[in-house]
Symmetry: C2
Subunit: 122 residues, 2 copies
Amino acid sequence: MAASSAKHDVFQAIADPTRRKLLKLLSKDEMPVTAISEHFPISRTAVSKHLRVLAEAGLVKERKIGRETRYKLEPDPLFELKDWLQYFELFWENKLSALRLFVESDVKEVEPLHLTKEKSEK
Amino acid sequence: MAASSAKHDVFQAIADPTRRKLLKLLSKDEMPVTAISEHFPISRTAVSKHLRVLAEAGLVKERKIGRETRYKLEPDPLFELKDWLQYFELFWENKLSALRLFVESDVKEVEPLHLTKEKSEK
DNA sequence: TTTATATGAAACCAAATGGTTTCGCAATCA
DNA sequence: TGATTGCGAAACCATTTGGTTTCATATAAA
């Protein structure tokens, strides 16, 4: 199951900014194509093609209702991305550890990259 | 800082499987181009081009040593990806919550989105 | 039954992408 | 001083990508 065999994988699907915007939009509501396209400066057909790419990657699900097709987010495939990222998290954590050491050891300020705070530890 | 202005952003950089493999490889060691290319079925020049894309996205850092150029992973830009993902995590967590509720309350009409079978009844 | 709406399919196009081969140039080795 | 190695730049190529416009079809509304 979840045989993401298709020609479009998640990584490729989210590479395009329009498609990323589509995903956000469809996370809020299930929407028909025409309504969706109103949020974009490109043609309805172009949006439709993006939607197909997303569908092939399993990121949206379509449902026909009368003459319209409604699309909605299907977030599951993003797990793959999360998994992939996880591996690298290891490395930035190492960096953060190094940074923490550095900060603790004295010296001035170091623009904490991203961390809110926490890990004051000890 | 981190003004990811360049023409290649992280999302696009990781869209290509070869580049993803490159990132993993370079997470282990800093390596010169020729050594790197030995891990790939494509030409050294092609690898070099991929490396440039990654560099533009800030995902690798190059260092010249004598006649060779060594590349290593620079994981920071992946934060952007993580942030982006985080938004959607909300949704799959909701799904899990919904699922939990469903299972707990054993109602039938909810149409378990993705799970083909299992826990369909009680 | 006509007419209008919603959408996908097709054909087409320019630009980007992922490759290749050839070439030039610095840096090291004999 | 050559000769060799490591690498990027350039030119080139086929395919993919992100768009467009036009057309066909199914459903809904008059």
